[in-house]
C-alpha cells in the first residue's frame, strides 16, 4: 500500500515537521488539531489569542510562509513543511517598529486584538511597504477591535510605514 493511501490516525501523533519562529520542530499532535491549540496549549505560546474560533475576529492571526492565516481555522496537518511566525517571533530580536508604533499612537486599549493586528500589519508591510489607505483597509478587514474605534490603529500603521521607510533609507544612504 502506498504511503499516501494510509491515513494518519487521530491517535497517531507521529510528527508534523514545520518551522516555528525560525526553529525547526516536529509537532507530535493529532493531525486535525487546530494550530491555535497547538501554539497555546502544547507549546505554551500564548501571545496568539483565542476568541471567536471561527475565523471572524483575527485575534488568532499568525503568518504561514509569510502570509496571514487564522490559526483557529488552520489544522496541524496543513502546517506540514511550512514556516510559521507568531507574535513571539516578531519581537525575537527586540520590539518591532510596528509594535512601537502601536504603543506610541495608542493603537490599542485592552490589547486583546493587538497581536493579531500586528501580524496582519507585518504581513502587509513585508509585501507592500507603501500601501494605500484602501490596501490597509483590505489587509486589516479580518481583524476586529472592540475597543479603539480603529483611529489609533490606522495612525499606528501610518507611523510604522514611516519608521520602516526611515530605517530603510538610513541603511541605503
Amino acid at each position: 500500500m502506498k504511503d499516501s493511501m494510509k491515513p494518519v490516525s487521530p491517535l497517531d501523533t507521529s510528527s508534523i515537521p514545520c518551522t516555528i519562529n525560525g526553529s525547526e520542530i516536529n509537532l507530535n499532535v493529532p493531525p486535525a488539531k487546530r494550530l491555535l491549540s497547538v501554539l497555546r496549549d502544547d507549546l505554551a505560546m500564548t501571545g496568539t489569542k483565542r476568541s471567536c474560533d471561527i475565523g471572524r475576529c483575527g485575534a488568532c492571526m499568525v503568518m504561514v510562509d509569510g502570509v496571514p492565516v487564522n490559526s483557529c481555522l488552520t489544522m496541524a496537518y496543513q502546517c506540514t513543511g511550512k514556516s510559521i511566525t507568531t507574535i513571539e517571533g516578531i519581537s525575537a530580536s527586540g520590539m518591532d517598529p510596528i509594535q512601537r508604533a502601536f504603543l506610541q499612537e495608542g493603537g490599542f486599549q485592552c490589547g486583546y486584538c493587538t497581536p493579531g493586528m500586528i501580524i496582519s500589519v507585518k504581513a502587509l508591510l513585508d509585501h507592500n511597504p507603501d500601501p494605500s489607505a484602501l490596501e490597509i483597509e483590505e489587509a486589516l478587514s479580518g481583524n476586529i477591535c472592540r475597543c479603539t474605534g480603529y483611529g489609533g490603529i490606522k495612525r499606528a500603521v501610518q507611523k510604522a510605514i514611516e519608521w520602516r521607510k526611515e530605517a530603510y533609507e538610513s541603511i541605503t544612504d
Binding site: 487521530p10 496571514p68 487564522n70 481555522l73 496537518y77 496543513q78 479580518g142
Partner: protein
C-alpha cells in the same frame, strides 16, 4: 458537532492522496464517513455551527498537484483554474485581473485576506452560494470533475440548477473550472461590474451579489448582456430572459426603468429574518439600474 470546548482534541483520520484517482477511490471506500477537505474554511463554519458533523475521515486534497494553480490562454480567451487555487492567488494575480476582472473583484469581496489564503475556488463553488459564483457564471464556466472514468464536464449553470436536488456530485472530485472570455466586437465598449451588498462594508455575508457584463455599440445599443444574481442563501443564476430583453435595446432612461421593474418581478432571492425577499429584489434592481445608468451616461 465539532469538539468546541477548549482543550478537547478533534480526532478524525486524515488521508493524503497524491492523485485524483486515489482521492476518488478513497471517497468511494469511505462513503459519507469521508469528506474531501480543501482549505476547510467552510467546513469549519459548518462543524462549529452544527450544520454538519465533523466526519471520521478527512480526505485532504491539498497534496494533489494537478489541482493547484491556473493557466490563462489569451489567444483562445480561456482560463483554467485548479480547484485548489486559493482565492488570494486569484485576487492578487495581475494576469487574472487583466483577463477576468469580475472574478478578481468577486474574490476581493470574499471574507478577508487571511481566510482567502486558505480558502479555495473549488470550495467556494461547491458551497453553491459562494460569492465567486455570479462572476463565474458571466464567463460561461464549465466544471471539470474526476468521477472514476475519463472525467466529466458540466456547465456551471447546469450544475447549480440541479445541485441541491441531486447529490451524485458529492461523490466526485472537482478538478478545475474553465472560464471563457466574452468576445469583444470591434466598435463596441464593454462594461463589467460586480457588487456585493452586505449589512457592513467589508467582511460580511452577502444580501445581494450581482455580476454584469455588457457591450455598447456605436449606436448606443446594448449587446451580449450577461447578468447573474445571488446573495445570502440564494443559489446564483443568470437572468436569461432579462438578458434577452436588454440585447438590442438602447441604453437610455426608458430601458433602465423597464429593467428595474423586470428584476423586481423576476429575481427570486431567498429571504431571511434579517433581510426579506422584497428588500433583496429592490437592492438587486437598483444595482443593475445604476450600472445601466453609468453605461447610458457614456452613450453619445
Amino acid at each position: 458537532m465539532a469538539a468546541n470546548a477548549q482543550g478537547v482534541a478533534e480526532a478524525p483520520f486524515v488521508w493524503h492522496p497524491r492523485s485524483a484517482a486515489e482521492a476518488w477511490q478513497l471517497k468511494q471506500t469511505l462513503g459519507t464517513e469521508g469528506v474531501f477537505t480543501a482549505g476547510a474554511t467552510l467546513l469549519r463554519t459548518q462543524w462549529e455551527s452544527g450544520l454538519a458533523v465533523m466526519p471520521n475521515h478527512f480526505i485532504n486534497i491539498g497534496a494533489i498537484e494537478e489541482l493547484h494553480g491556473f493557466e490563462i490562454d489569451s489567444v483562445s480567451g480561456t482560463g483554467s483554474f485548479g480547484a485548489m487555487t486559493t482565492l488570494s492567488h486569484i485576487r492578487t494575480s495581475p494576469q487574472v485581473g487583466e483577463s477576468f476582472p469580475v472574478l478578481v473583484e468577486a474574490t476581493r469581496n470574499i471574507a478577508a485576506p487571511s481566510i482567502r489564503n486558505l480558502a479555495t475556488i473549488g470550495g467556494n463553488i461547491l458551497s453553491m452560494v459562494g460569492d465567486s459564483l455570479p462572476a463565474l457564471l458571466l464567463y460561461d464556466s464549465v466544471l471539470h470533475w474526476h468521477d472514476g472514468t475519463n472525467g466529466l464536464q458540466e456547465p456551471l449553470s447546469e450544475w447549480l440548477s440541479t445541485a441541491s436536488a441531486h447529490a451524485a456530485w458529492k461523490e466526485r472530485l472537482l478538478m478545475s473550472v474553465e472560464l471563457t472570455l466574452p468576445i469583444l466586437d470591434s466598435n463596441t465598449k464593454r462594461f463589467v461590474a460586480y457588487h456585493k451588498v452586505g449589512r457592513r462594508d467589508a467582511f460580511t455575508p452577502s444580501v445581494v451579489t450581482a455580476a454584469l457584463t455588457m457591450q455598447l455599440d456605436s449606436e448606443d445599443r446594448l449587446s451580449d448582456v450577461r447578468l447573474a444574481l445571488g446573495g445570502g442563501q440564494t443559489i446564483p443564476y443568470r437572468l436569461e430572459s432579462i438578458e434577452s430583453y436588454l440585447n438590442g435595446k438602447l441604453a437610455n432612461k426608458k430601458t433602465i426603468s423597464e429593467v428595474y421593474a423586470l428584476i423586481v418581478e423576476q429575481f427570486e432571492p431567498k429571504g431571511d429574518t434579517f433581510v426579506p425577499v422584497s428588500y433583496r429584489k429592490k437592492a438587486a434592481a437598483n444595482l443593475i439600474a445604476s450600472e445601466l445608468w453609468k453605461a447610458a451616461r457614456t452613450a453619445r
